[in-house]
């Protein structure tokens, strides 16, 4: 963790309460729960479900969740038959371009480390919570960061991710960010 906080005053968004779709199919008001529970229709995994898995991950720098900082959002998740693509947005828009022009090269490095770390948290959470048949790709939102290619490359490199998780200090920090990730699921 860097000693200097990279973005001390990020914009905090209010989180949206998802509407619970009341099943209007039922005539009787007290039927709703019953019909939902016991029906045999399969409910396939959708983008909201994946969003639920990752929305309550904490940002390593702030006491806010990724949802509150709009690092991740449901529309940024694409899901195919056996493939999931998650795109995430750094907290500072265009941080690679504007705020860091003229800054020391070390702080550019720090920023990309934080980004990679964030991606790593998302990957670990999905690794633990999605069926193995899914291949997960994690990307920084295109055009949002200077070193996005480097970050993407690291995040989607199996060996590198595995190696990173061998590092006990890093793993502990990941666990800390994931500590309340279960709260995201309604």
């Amino acid at each position: 963790m860097p000693a200097e906080i990279f973005n001390p005053n990020p914009v905090v968004f209010s989180t949206v309460k998802r509407k619970l779709d009341v099943s209007a199919q039922s005539l009787w008001i007290d039927d709703v729960l019953l019909s939902e529970q016991e029906s045999d229709d399969p409910e396939p995994i959708d983008q909201n479900e994946i969003f639920d898995l990752i929305r309550a991950i904490y940002d390593p720098e702030h006491p806010n969740t990724l949802e509150e900082l709009r690092v991740v959002s449901a529309p940024q998740i694409l899901i195919g038959k056996n493939r999931v693509k998650v795109e995430f947005t750094p907290t500072v828009p265009h941080c690679g371009m504007s705020t860091l022009i003229g800054a020391a090269p070390s702080s550019i490095l720090t920023a990309s480390i934080i980004l990679t770390f964030l991606g790593l948290c998302i990957r670990v959470r999905l690794l633990r919570s999605l069926p193995e048949r899914f291949k997960v790709d994690i990307f920084v939102k295109p055009g949002s960061h200077q070193s996005e290619h480097a970050v993407n490359k690291q995040l989607n490199d199996k060996e590198r991710v595995a190696a990173a998780l061998e590092n006990p200090v890093l793993l502990e920090t990941v666990e800390k960010c994931l500590s309340d990730a279960g709260n995201g699921i309604i």
Binding site: V12, S14, A24, W28, I29, P42, E43, E49, P63, S129
Partner: protein, 1007 residues
């Protein structure tokens, strides 16, 4: 020892030298100690005799002299401690003792127990000879400082801190403040942690509080202390920071406003850091509290002198301006803490409150109207609403006379909130703000309340699809307003809502209309609890129900099925029953009058429908409607009964319902529920009667004829005549309530002997159909329960019968389940229904039945009996408290594991729920299930897989158990299973149902 006492006694009587010599010889030869002698002298030393004073003096001088010698140090100190508490110990001795202590005792070179005695002597003298010590002046304080310096043992420190506080408060320390400061502040902050199994029972907090009492004992510490605080706050750990903040909160008011003002900048800069970049939420709160105290300390003195806001100078103004600077970007995360600080300022002194409001509120209002800030309006409103809430809290804190600082800004603020109300993303904040405005006493006029209601109505009407998220808050606000003035809601909101309810039920395919109706009804349900509004609700809904259930245009009703109509009527009845239930919980007094205004209408509706059923199907004959109708009647009659009880019971037994039913529908015939010629619809009406009687007090008169005969008739009717679930249920509930509440005399023949009742014969008779026998078991269980709850002597023999029957091939499981159900709390036999409930009624039953079940589950020769016992165990344990079965747990766990292999899904759920209940409060150190963990893991994995377990509930329960397992069993025990569990759960993550996947994610994360 005894001979010492004898010698002393002899000497006191004779005063001869001889005894003295003998005592001295005894001491020199170690027969007894000096301490023994002092103890033996005790009673004489405390007597008033002047010559004894002399002897105390001699002893003190002698003992003080012995302090020089390290060999005699400890006994001399012990002796002095004892002498010091005697009344004949004079101030002069106190002084000389202290001087000797200062002179001879080298604290650094003696052990803790000796130092403890020294501190105890000081403490004792401090209590009884304070003046003598005070007159020692400078030398005492200097002596004490060098004595106490460097003490480390927590036991000694507890005494030392107490002494120091007295010195700081009662002694002249003007020239020694720094010296005292040095020996006290070196302990701050306390980092001591008691060792495990601490024998002395001194906690970190004990020391903290004692030390804090010293730190806050004198204002003269101020200049030295504050820099220390600031340093500790900046560098410390979480615990240190909390301690420092709390200590500052206690000390700053003592140190006084001059010091606080002098250091205000530095203090503010440190506190600010804890608020803007808090370690966690508690720390932020602590820092805010301390800030509040700081501001109060600085400004409360000059409060009276404040004439205008311009008079506020210094910290409050600077901090306020600093925060206002941040509020220029209301959408940023720092705006929240800035607002919190300003809100904290509002709770300090009235003038600062006025000042803060005059700065912040107009600024936010201006910002809101600025065209550049359109996108940040929700954030602005959120901040503004926090200010209003703080203003409300400030008023609540100071009492109602406090002047309303918000008054000058009222119109602007309200306008902003009303605008915010109109757009979806800022509505939530606007509602919070408006609610706070409404709650500030004396702020809004009646017309303004009406104006708010008017605007809320527009929201409700205009955007029915969009107001989902905030509808609760809207209702909450309307409720808040209706408590202040119901008129606006009654005149504006209710007509709007009623007008959206159609007269004819939405058709099956009209989903959107149905959703809208439901939303309206749920709003009415929340809104109409208040007396005035509920009255309107009753009139409007009963009229509507009548129109709906008895349409004038009969053709339209005949051509289709009447289910939509029934469902619509049901939802309206449900609104009434939910409102009544809330009112009953609130103990509203207007509930009573609905015995005349609502109950007869309900009877009228249902009885008329039952009679008309012969001609055409009627919506109101649906059992669900009758159930809700019953709920309504039950809720109303619980309140007042005696005369009504006899009227109603008479109507049931004679069949003449004219006395209990009034309303628009007219019908001639009498209602004979129990007659052989009655129709099913007529028999269903029993639901209403039964619901009413269940709610009566137990001593009201019932005109049902001899009660024995009535109950027998009812049971026979249940078995022979009743042909719908609602009929049997109503009849059995009625039986259970009567058996529970009425006296033994009334029920004599029923209760005389359980072995000879006709009901028992029905159960035993194996030539009966299975259904008839299960129904009889059900009735039996109801009666058993009614008796058990009132702790009737017959209860156990009734329950025993159920146990005996659990081996039966045909109905064994029914009997087994009811064994457990007996202890489940029953809505019919509740306090609210005035049932006869004795405390701890289940205990004796559980104590008796549990060992029997365990025994028969293990040892019974019949396989059916063994399985039934498992079923009974699962249903029983689930319903009783942990303490009741803990002593048997070693025997139970293997049985429960066997239960997991049973096929029936509901039994499996029972078993897993039981295991979950067992797991609660379990810990890895003393795990109850550790030895079975492998079996448990295997069984749960099997039950969580969709292929092997089709039941959703079982899968979820099994996964929940897997999720708790890692927290109740030690890791090294579970480690061998880990890989298997993770692999198997990875498969479950692909379950077709979302709820199962959710449970699987949690379980897998925990592993």
């Amino acid at each position: 020892m005894e001979s010492a006492i004898r010698l002393v006694q002899t000497w006191v009587a004779s005063e001869r030298e001889q005894e003295i010599d003998e005592i001295v010889t005894g001491i020199s030869n170690n027969h007894w100690t000096l301490l023994d002698v002092v103890k033996a002298l005790g009673e004489y030393l405390t007597s008033e005799d002047a010559s004894l004073l002399q002897k105390v003096r001699v002893l003190v001088t002698f003992l003080c002299g012995k302090l020089e010698d390290s060999e005699t140090l400890k006994p001399s100190l012990t002796g002095l401690l004892r002498l010091a508490s005697l009344s004949s110990f004079s101030p002069a001795e106190a002084t000389s003792t202290i001087e000797a202590l200062f002179q001879h005792v080298r604290m650094k070179s003696v052990v803790q127990s000796i130092r403890f005695i020294v501190f105890s002597i000081l403490d004792t003298l401090m209590a009884s000879h304070r003046q003598a010590l005070q007159s020692m002046g400078k030398s005492f304080i200097q002596g004490y400082v060098s004595l106490a310096e460097g003490e480390k043992d927590p036991r000694n420190l507890m005494v030392a801190f107490a002494i120091a506080r007295v010195i700081l408060i009662d002694f002249d320390i003007s020239n020694h403040a720094e010296a005292m400061f040095d020996i006290i502040f070196c302990y701050f902050p306390i980092t001591f942690r008691p060792p495990p199994n601490d024998p002395y029972g001194i906690s970190t907090d004990d020391l903290r509080l004692k030390l804090r009492a010293c730190l806050s004992a004198t204002p003269s510490f101020g200049p030295f202390a504050i820099p220390v605080f600031l340093e500790k706050l900046a560098a410390g750990s979480r615990a240190t920071k909390t301690d420092t903040l709390q200590t500052m909160g206690v000390c700053i008011p003592v140190y006084g406003s001059a010091i606080a003002r002098a250091y205000s900048r530095k203090l503010w800069n440190s506190l600010k850091l804890e608020i803007f970049q808090p370690v966690d939420v508690q720390m932020e709160e602590e820092a805010l509290k301390t800030t509040k105290i700081l501001v109060q300390t600085i400004y409360s003195e000059e409060e009276a002198a404040m004439e205008s806001d311009d008079d506020i100078q210094g910290l409050a103004r600077d901090a306020c301006e600093e925060c206002m600077q941040i509020l220029k970007e209301p959408e940023k995360s720092q705006a929240r803490p800035a607002t919190k600080i300003l809100c904290t300022f509002m709770t300090t002194t009235p003038s600062i409150c006025r000042f803060t409001i005059s700065q912040a509120v107009p600024h936010l209002v201006r910002l809101f109207h600025s065209p550049d800030e359109l996108t940040t309006r929700p954030s602005i409103l959120l901040l503004l609403s926090e200010f209003i809430v703080a203003a409300r809290d400030a008023q609540a804190q100071e009492g109602s006379e406090a002047d309303i600082s918000l008054l000058p800004h009222k119109d602007n603020v309200m306008a902003v909130f009303i605008i915010g109300l109109k757009s979806t993303n800022s509505r939530g904040a606007a509602l919070i703000g408006l609610k706070a405005l409404v709650l500030i006493k004396g702020l809004l006029s009646d017309e303004e309340l009406g104006f708010i209601v008017h605007n809320l109505n527009e929201v409700v009407q205009e955007e029915p699809s969009e107001f989902d998220e905030t509808s609760e808050d809207i209702i909450d606000l309307l409720n808040t307003i209706s408590r202040i003035s119901a008129r606006h809601v009654a005149e504006q909101t209710l007509p709007t809502l009623f007008s959206t309810l159609p007269d004819v039920a939405p058709k099956l395919e009209q989903d959107s209309l149905r959703i809208q109706v439901r939303r309206t009804l749920s709003m009415l349900q929340e809104l109409c609890v208040q007396a005035e509004l509920f009255e309107i609700l009753v009139i409007r809904l009963t009229t509507k129900l009548d129109l709906l259930c008895f349409p004038s245009d009969q053709v339209s009703q005949l051509d289709g099925d009447n289910e939509p109509t029934a469902a619509y009527a049901h939802s309206m009845l449900k609104v009434l029953s939910e409102c009544l239930s809330t009112k009953s919980k609130n103990k509203d007094t207007d509930l009573v009058k609905y015995i005349e205004r609502l109950v007869p209408l309900i009877f009228n509706l249902f009885i008329a429908s039952a009679f008309m059923e012969k001609e055409r199907p009627m919506a109101a004959n649906n059992p669900r409607l009758l159930t809700v109708g019953g709920e309504i009647i039950n809720l109303v009659v619980r309140s007042r009964q005696a005369s009504y009880a006899s009227i109603l019971s008479k109507a049931l037994s004679t069949g003449d319902v004219s006395a209990i039913s009034h309303g628009p529908q007219k019908f001639a015939s009498n209602l004979h529920i129990f007659s052989t010629s009655s129709s099913a619809a007529e028999r269903n009406i029993l639901r209403l009667f039964s619901s009413a009687i269940i709610g009566f007090y137990k001593d009201v008169p019932l005109e049902l004829g001899p009660l024995n005969d009535f109950v027998m008739k009812l049971l026979a009717w249940t078995l022979d005549k009743a042909d719908t679930d609602i009929q049997t249920l109503s009849a059995l509930e009625l039986v259970s309530s009567l058996v529970n509440k009425r006296t033994d005399e009334e029920l004599s023949s029923l209760l005389e002997d359980e072995s000879s009742t006709p009901l028992r014969d029905e159960i035993q008779n194996t030539s009966n159909l299975k259904e008839r026998r299960s129904l009889a078991i059900k009735a039996w269980a109801k009666i058993s329960k009614a008796l058990l709850v009132r702790k009737h002597p017959l209860a156990m023999s009734y329950a025993q019968r159920l146990f005996d029957l659990s081996g039966d091939e045909q109905i064994g499981w029914d009997a087994a389940r009811s064994i457990g159900d007996l202890v489940v709390s029953d809505p019919v036999l509740s306090k609210a229904n005035h049932a006869d409930i004795k405390i701890l009624y289940s205990q004796k039953y559980v104590n008796e039945i549990l060992p029997k079940l365990i025994e028969s589950a293990n040892e019974s020769t019949s396989a059916t009996q063994r399985t039934s016992s498992l079923v009974a165990l699962a249903s029983l344990i689930r319903s009783i408290s942990r303490a009741a079965y803990m002593h048997n747990i070693k025997l139970l766990v293997p049985l429960l594991l066997r239960g997991l292999d049973l096929e029936d899904p509901s039994v499996k759920v029972d078993v897993i729920e039981t295991l979950l209940a067992v797991a609660e409060g379990d810990s890895p150190e003393r795990s109850l299930v550790a030895e079975h963990s492998t079996t448990l893991v295997k069984a749960m994995l099997r039950n969580s897989n969709v292929q092997s377990t089709p039941s959703l509930k079982v899968r979820i329960a099994a996964l929940r158990y897997l999720a708790v397992l890692p927290s109740i069993v030690r890791y090294n025990v579970l480690h061998p299973e880990r890989a298997t569990v993770l692999r198997e759960l990875a498969v479950v993550l692909d379950d077709p149902k979302r709820a199962v996947r959710k449970a699987a994610v949690e379980a897998r994360t925990n592993w």
